[in-house]
């Protein structure tokens, strides 16, 4: 649940200046709406498609806005309040816009003992973010700490958007960032 100090999702990503007032264009139209309906058939009811629908929303818009939640609620015959309750439980749905590249560094004990803190430091310095959860001025990067990524033997694993990178050390950070223009 996203109430901790290193939550990857909404709560700790600090709201930027941009994003909130952009009018919401519906996501579930045409092909996307059809894809959602096909997906719903896997389950005995529409509500079970909530997590997948939120993923579709985030993939389309980069984050999960209040207006997006209203749209998802309508699609699945749920209330917006219910959908928000679910969104806020999970760490991976962004409740604010984030940088173009969202960087998550594992710092749980197995990675911690292999030097994960220094990897975090290197990312904060070299992206210009300076602080966890803050998007860099050029809008390119947001860096957060994340709990165990399930790849502890490959310390330190780092996620950049949906890319899963293994065995990152402080001196590999520059090379990693160069891949994300």
């Amino acid at each position: 649940m996203s109430h901790g100090p290193s939550a990857s999702g909404g709560a700790l990503v600090k709201a930027g200046a941009h994003g909130h007032d952009v009018p919401h264009e519906p996501v579930f139209v045409g092909e996307t709406a059809a894809r959602l309906e096909t997906l719903i058939e896997r389950y005995p009811n529409r509500q079970a498609a909530l997590l997948p629908a939120l993923w579709m929303l985030q993939e389309a818009r980069g984050w999960v806005s209040e207006a997006g939640m209203v749209e998802v609620a309508q699609q699945l015959a749920l209330t917006p309040a219910y959908v928000k309750g679910v969104v806020t439980f999970y760490t991976m749905y962004h409740q604010h816009p984030v940088g173009k590249y969202f960087i998550q560094v594992c710092t749980t004990s197995p990675c911690h003992v292999c030097g994960a803190e220094d990897v975090v430091k290197a990312f904060l310095e070299q992206t210009g973010c300076g602080e966890l959860g803050v998007t860099s001025d050029d809008g390119k990067f947001t860096v957060i700490e994340v709990e165990c990524l399930g790849a502890c033997g490959f310390a330190t694993p780092v996620m950049v958007n949906s890319d899963f990178l293994e065995s990152i050390t402080p001196n590999r950070v520059a090379e990693v960032l160069a891949r994300y223009p």
């Binding site: 649940m1 996203s2 109430h3 901790g4 100090p5 290193s6 939550a7 990857s8 999702g9 896997r42 005995p44 009811n45 509500q47 079970a48 498609a49 909530l50 997590l51 997948p52 939120l54 993923w55 699945l76 749920l78 309750g85 679910v86 439980f89 999970y90 760490t91 991976m92 749905y93 998550q104 710092t107 749980t108 004990s109 197995p110 911690h112 003992v113 292999c114 030097g115 220094d118 994340v146 709990e147 165990c148 990524l149 399930g150 790849a151 502890c152 033997g153 490959f154 310390a155 996620m159 949906s162 890319d163 899963f164 050390t169 402080p170």
Partner: protein
């Protein structure tokens, strides 16, 4: 285990034989390696006969609790007229554990096959594989494998020509350790917050969508085809002769301060000392191993001396003061401060508590606060009693065992490394080598 290292001669690679072999990822590649024979023969057996083979094999759950798999399957009442479900738990988030990820990345069809056999055995027409959202690569590979298996007629409306429906779907999680707890996973799959449910009712009575449900770990299900192919007797022999309660091979994920972290597959009953020093290569140059958490962060921390005398099976781990858990082995060397590491683990649990139970919500938060204050050098001798009393209040009193899991490293850590905490309080220097970063 083959990936990222070559298998050690002392390993027995049943599940991990094709790790690193990308050709094993396709339907044809899997079939040419002996895949889907077990499903074919299972579909010709009575479901109860399948359950009985698994029961006889002694296979126990690899997700953490070690519950006998065949017995769990036998709780499903066949022919009760209700839809049955199988959930495959691929939420793998227990710190130290990364074996299911490798099974899914390299041998996705081993899992599809195991899931299909499990579904058939418990009378389920639908199975969901719930994979944590961060596992982007395993998710893509499993989605592909399921689609390919469906296109090949292996699963779907007429699975392998049997006339049976076995639908398998991949469901993507969204970031929450607690969704690995079985009833939280079911809530999450239903489109709810991932809060664990009060038991009873147990999933076999009322599980996913309120229907009879079985939930099994990835590794548990991936072992099933091998058991059907080679027989229960073969599986039972993969153990130490004096302990029939732990059978088969086991994948151990090893991480932390060792020369060769990675996954290793050994038979139940393997000597832990040899495992740590030979297979994993022992300590880094100039360092000494100090402590081990053998079964994922939720089991007691033991000293290296206790570990070296240990035997790697469910009972052997209990005998050396800990548990097998999820077999995620975290190794600490003499450069690590145990209070600091225990504080970090407590922070993990505080972050992951779903906050339904007061003991857990408050207990994990206060434990973290006190430990972090001690690590910062502001501890007092009274903190020990406070921590142990909080731990006592967190144990055996909550809806799920996440709360207990937070108390475990605290209690076992204070028991074995009290001197390190005291040194922090008295501000005396102890031998903690400064950490060298590669």
């Amino acid at each position: 285990m083959g990936y990222p290292h070559q298998p050690h001669p002392r390993e027995n690679t049943v599940l991990s034989r094709y790790f690193g072999d990308a050709e094993a990822r396709s339907v044809d590649g899997w079939k040419s390696r002996g895949g889907y024979k077990a499903l074919q023969s299972a579909l010709q057996m009575d479901p109860l006969a399948v359950v009985n083979v698994v029961k006889d094999s002694g296979l126990r759950g690899r997700g953490g609790a070690g519950f006998p798999t065949g017995l769990k399957w036998s709780f499903m009442k066949l022919g009760d007229g209700k839809p049955h479900y199988l959930c495959c738990n691929a939420d793998e988030s227990e710190p130290g554990t990364f074996k299911d990820r490798e099974i899914m990345r390299w041998t996705p069809h081993a899992l599809v096959e195991g899931v299909a056999i499990g579904a058939y055995a418990i009378g389920a027409e639908t199975a969901y594989i719930y994979i944590r959202g961060e596992f982007t690569e395993p998710l893509a590979i499993m989605e592909q494998a399921v689609a390919d298996a469906r296109a090949a007629g292996i699963i779907g409306k007429n699975a392998m020509g049997s006339g049976k429906t076995i639908d398998v779907w991949v469901h993507k999680g969204a970031g929450a350790y607690i969704c690995g707890e079985e009833t939280a996973l079911m809530n999450s799959l239903e489109g709810k917050r991932g809060n664990p449910r009060i038991k009873p009712p147990f999933p076999a009575v009322s599980g996913l969508f309120g229907m009879p449900t079985t939930i099994n770990n990835v590794e548990t299900l991936a072992a099933v085809p091998h058991i059907l192919n080679h027989g229960a007797e073969w599986y039972k022999k993969l153990s130490r002769p004096d302990n029939p309660k732990s059978t088969g091979t086991k994948l151990w994920s090893v991480c932390g301060n060792v020369q060769r972290p990675g996954n290793y597959e050994v038979e139940m009953g393997f000597p832990f000392g040899e495992f740590l020093h030979d297979l994993c290569g022992g300590a880094l140059p100039g360092r000494k191993l100090k402590a081990v958490i053998p079964g994922g962060s939720s089991v007691p921390i033991i000293t290296i001396a206790e570990a070296e005398a240990g035997v790697m099976d469910y009972e052997g781990m209990v005998a050396c003061g800990t548990m097998l858990g999820s077999a995620g082995c975290i190794v600490f060397d003499d450069a690590q401060s145990m209070p600091r590491q225990i504080a970090r683990l407590a922070r993990f649990y505080a972050h992951e508590s779903c906050a339904q139970c007061t003991q857990c919500r408050e207990g994990t938060a206060w434990t973290t606060k006190i430990l972090e204050r001690m690590v910062a050098g502001d501890g007092t001798m009274e903190d020990f009693d406070t921590l142990l009393s909080i731990a006592d209040n967190m144990t055996g009193k909550t809806i799920c065992v996440l709360s207990d899991s937070c108390a475990v490293p605290v209690v076992s850590g204070i028991q074995r490394f009290r001197h390190e905490f005291e040194a922090l309080i008295k501000r005396t220097t102890i031998h903690v080598v400064p950490q060298v970063i590669a």
